[in-house]
């Protein structure tokens, strides 16, 4: 009798309709049809292979063996999965320090623009909203500000945070506060990114601030507004002339997503810069069949892992928010602008106590294996899109179609992988 076991760094991931085989070292995903799925489940249950194998099944197992993805055994065997990179979760007195990497701080809710979707967090869905100046509330009131902003920056730095991301509204409208925070960030060696629509302050002042503190500008171009590029152009021209590094983020809406390519080309031509894209829409539009442009344009949701650690991380952590927290304009701690759960109150309790609860850290571990419908999808470890986390737990189940073309219950996915626009590291195995 013969047995066949998958290799230690090959994982069989179950989905509702189809299963997928993840070759961690090779960076490949094989979506299995019903026959391949059945065979591998039989093998992984440590059951002997039938004496007579179907030729297609035999060829499949031989191919796996030749690719180093499995091996024939002469008796039942325990093949332990790769244990590298999977640390123990120490608790209590042995708890390891969290890997804080980025803090977003909304210095103000004020803005001098009047974008249609901004400040309507109860009515809108955003994708990669953290890259933009979208606010939760459009009331425009003054934000919470600690008595000693520099002391808060020092506390943030002591956590091990590497990047401080200043957001708004438009933080250029609270110039003195921005300069104070930027100076403190520079003193503590923090990388500082300021996200702004780029209006409300002279480009020369902004360039001087960047020179003084090392701040990098992320200039948001709200494509929902007529002439948005031209509004941001003076600042972008000044930054380019000063040779300062920075980012451009184009905020699309359902009405303007068709302009994606045009805007990308225009930005690239004028400022020699590949822009990022974020999107916002009304919930009602998502229910009405809206599709995110990245689903159809770049298929970037499916992203190969760069190394084994990155693969295992997808199993235990949120690939987008892990290590990040947001101090909102109300002084509350949340994970990011796209997620509404409050994890602490800096204004009331100070930063350390606000971060002493478990909520934020639980959110960091909110991976695709824990949220519906992704937990039922065999491709959940191939997908690095954060959209699912924004929609998970909300009423807008129909919104799922806006960011993901895959039906987790589709048992014919192996044959239809190409049709879903999924990139080349995911392939189908069809034995039927």
């Amino acid at each position: 009798m013969t047995w066949f076991r998958l290799a230690a760094d090959v994982f069989l991931v179950e989905g509702d309709g189809a299963d997928a085989l993840y070759d961690v070292h090779g960076g490949r995903v094989l979506v299995l049809d019903e026959i391949a799925r059945g065979v591998l489940h039989h093998c992984e249950a440590n059951e002997a292979l039938p004496a007579e194998l179907e030729p297609t099944v035999k060829a499949f197992l031989d191919a796996l063996e030749e690719a180093g993805l499995g091996a024939y055994e002469d008796s039942p065997a325990h093949v332990e999965k790769l244990l590298l990179h999977q640390p123990t979760n120490w608790q209590g007195m042995c708890m390891q320090p969290p890997n804080f990497s980025r803090a977003d701080w909304s210095l103000t809710d004020r803005c001098d623009q009047d974008c249609a979707h901004c400040g309507r967090s109860g009515e809108t869905l955003t994708w990669e909203g953290c890259r933009t100046c979208l606010r939760r509330s459009a009331e425009g009131g003054d934000a919470w500000m600690p008595e000693r902003p520099a002391a808060l920056v020092a506390e943030i730095a002591a956590l091990g945070v590497r990047t401080l991301h200043i957001r708004g509204g438009n933080p250029l409208l609270v110039w003195d506060a921005l300069c104070g925070v930027a100076g403190a960030a520079a003193a503590h060696g923090l990388e500082l990114v300021v996200t702004t629509p780029g209006t409300g302050r002279s480009p020369s002042d902004i360039v001087a601030l960047c020179h003084r503190t090392g701040a990098q500008l992320n200039v948001v171009v709200p494509a929902c507004e007529t002439g948005a590029v031209e509004k941001a152009a003076p600042l972008l021209d000044a930054l380019a002339a000063a040779g300062l590094p920075g980012f451009i983020t184009v905020l699309l809406t359902p009405e303007t997503q068709a302009l994606r390519r045009t805007l990308r080309d225009e930005v690239a031509a004028r400022w020699n810069c590949e822009p990022s894209f974020a999107e916002v829409c009304l919930r009602s539009e998502a229910k009405g069949g809206f599709r995110l442009s990245h689903v159809t344009a770049d298929a970037r949701a499916m992203t190969p892992w760069s190394n084994a650690e990155a693969f295992f991380f997808r199993r235990v952590g949120n690939t987008c928010t892990y290590g990040a927290f947001e101090i909102g304009a109300d002084g509350k701690i949340r994970t990011c602008i796209g997620l509404g759960d409050i994890h602490g109150d800096v204004a009331a309790d100070g930063l350390r106590r606000a971060l002493a609860g478990d909520g934020l850290y639980g959110a960091w571990e909110q991976n695709k294996g824990r949220i519906a419908p992704c937990q039922n999808c065999a491709l959940r470890l191939a997908c690095a899109d954060c959209s699912a986390f924004e929609v998970a737990g909300q009423d807008d189940a129909a919104a799922k179609a806006a960011y993901c073309p895959i039906d987790p219950a589709d048992s014919t996915l192996a044959a239809g992988v190409g049709a879903c626009g999924i990139s080349g590291f995911v392939r189908g195995v069809v034995l039927a």
């Binding site: 063996e65 180093g68 039942p76 123990t88 608790q91 209590g92 007195m93 042995c94 971060l355 850290y361």
Partner: protein, 518 residues
């Protein structure tokens, strides 16, 4: 032929660090200590690995193929070469000068500040019991002995202030972190006034900073004392060895009377008065030797789980630096060994059948299997200058004695202090010397060991009158124990690939399913 090929010497630069073992079914496996991986093994794979490490595989391939078939040989070669090239498996560089040097004192200090997790206060060197195997008795002549000295509040306050300053960087970096504050003795409840004062001081001066823990014999758990412990949510580890006859055999008071009934009465009252506290914060710790009926002890804790707190540790009476076991015969040793084998078999069957195993059984036998789960991974962080054995880095824990002297933990004899509160705390120059001596005397040859990830040897195990010394038997026992627990582990998972090993203590949680299921 296989045996001959397997005996090929590998190069002097790289040493093969693998261990072969068999499951209960007789299935061969190979454990690799570089990666911590376990491989189903065979004569062919052994031959291919040996030839590969000797650089002779190409020349011998045809001959192997004649015996095993070309496809099988190529499959074995792929497995071995993949693991060699991707993860550096099977052989480890060996020789002098490979380990990072022990850092200078000024570099050790920030390391200790970044790692230390527990402060132990030795509140008294006295005890109200005269347990015959006590570490503070003449049974262990190397250790500190019982005295009437006790710690003052002044010393305790200085210790707490000093430690809070030591770990301040961690507090800033890790808002959830709580540091262990362990009350130790002798019997710490003999100095209850100090316990009360320390708990109040920590609550006021360092709120939400410490996790108080106490190891006690349980005899003095009066209602008044328990009220204080409940108020401060102190976790209690209570020493109970088993049923009355077993407990009273060795755990006796000053007048030689057994203590079981009085402790059991205290436990019943705590459960009645504070059931939630009893459930959450009370645990039992047990000791056995070759005179113990371990099966009876297991039954006792299982049948009396309504009174006896859940068992979290079951340890054998220590065998180092003592003649304790000379009182027992070879028959006693064999009888205990046979009983442990039966309990091990019962535990494995419970895991295969997915039925409950008692806390005592889990602590006695299961902990060995959990240690397989917890074996160090390639990516885990041991300090580079102390890469081998299971030793903490001195300073990870700090034990403060009644007079303010600092030790690396509560288990060492006290002959090798690492500082003193009167001298400003840890003496980092001395700390470096201690680590260097341990490396020179104990871990110098560990780079060629096949079970480094399973080694629990630490400073306290290798203390002698002449300093730290490694005895050959301690390594032989580690290898034998590792082979047994690896075999137990794979034997369960061969029978039930979905078997669940839940590991949970106050300091760690790990679930086998998290590792295997995707």
């Amino acid at each position: 032929m296989a045996t001959k090929i397997s005996q090929i010497e590998t190069s002097q630069v790289e040493k093969r660090v693998t261990l072969r073992f068999q499951s209960d079914r007789g299935r061969d496996y190979l454990y690799d200590d570089v990666t911590g991986a376990i491989f189903p093994w065979s004569t062919l794979r052994e031959d291919v690995l040996a030839l590969s490490l000797a650089g002779r595989l190409d020349g011998e391939r045809e001959r192997l193929a004649d015996v095993h078939g070309a496809r099988a040989v190529d499959g074995a070669r792929r497995l071995i070469e993949n693991w060699r090239s991707r993860y550096g498996a099977f052989a480890r560089p060996s020789g002098d000068g490979l380990d990072a040097p022990v850092p200078a004192p000024d570099a050790l200090e920030p390391l200790v500040r970044a790692r230390s997790f527990e402060l132990l206060l030795v509140l008294t060197e006295n005890c109200n019991l005269r347990c015959r195997y006590c570490a503070l008795s003449e049974t262990y002549p190397l250790n500190r002995q019982r005295t009437t000295r006790r710690m003052s509040m002044e010393t305790a306050r200085r210790a707490i202030d000093w430690y809070a300053d030591l770990v301040r960087p961690q507090m800033a970096q890790n808002p959830r972190k709580r540091f262990g504050l362990s009350f130790y003795g002798g019997e710490p409840l003999l100095n209850m006034k100090l316990v009360t004062d320390v708990l109040a001081y920590c609550r006021d001066a360092y709120p939400n900073t410490f996790l108080p823990v106490m190891t006690t014999n349980g005899l003095l758990l009066t209602p008044e004392i328990v009220e204080t412990l409940v108020e401060h949510d102190v976790m209690l580890a209570i020493s109970i060895d088993g049923p009355q006859a077993e407990h009273d055999r060795l755990r006796r008071d000053i007048r030689g009377h057994g203590t079981f009934e009085r402790i059991a009465a205290n436990l019943r009252r705590i459960k009645a008065d504070h059931p939630e506290y009893w459930q959450r914060q009370l645990t039992s710790v047990s000791v056995y030797d070759w005179g113990t009926d371990v099966e009876a002890a297991e039954r006792f804790f299982d049948e009396n789980a309504d009174v006896m707190p859940r068992t979290v540790f079951v340890n054998a009476v220590g065998a180092a630096n003592t003649d304790w076991y000379e009182r027992y015969s070879e028959d006693d040793r064999r009888r205990t060994g046979a009983a442990l084998d039966r309990l091990r078999a019962r535990y494995k069957q419970a895991k295969i059948d997915e039925t409950e195993a008692s806390h005592y059984l889990t602590s006695l036998v299961g902990i060995d299997i959990y240690s397989v789960l917890l074996r160090r991974r390639v990516g885990d962080n041991r300090v580079a200058f102390l890469p081998y054995s299971g030793a903490c880095m001195p300073g990870d824990k700090v034990a403060v004695h009644v007079d303010g002297r600092l030790d690396m933990c509560e288990r060492v004899s006290g002959r090798c202090p690492i500082g003193h509160l009167d001298a400003g705390g840890i003496d980092y120059e001395r700390l470096g010397e201690v680590i260097q001596e341990y490396r020179d005397q104990v871990t110098q040859r560990c780079d060629r060991c096949s079970v480094t990830k399973h080694c629990s040897v630490c400073f306290s195990h290798v203390e002698t009158e002449d300093g730290f010394r490694r005895s050959p038997s301690i390594c032989a026992n580690t290898v034998a124990g590792t082979r047994q627990r690896l075999a137990d582990y794979v034997s369960v998972l061969e029978e039930n690939p979905e078997a669940s090993f839940q590991f949970e203590t106050d300091t760690a949680s790990l679930e086998q399913r998290l590792l295997l299921q995707y």
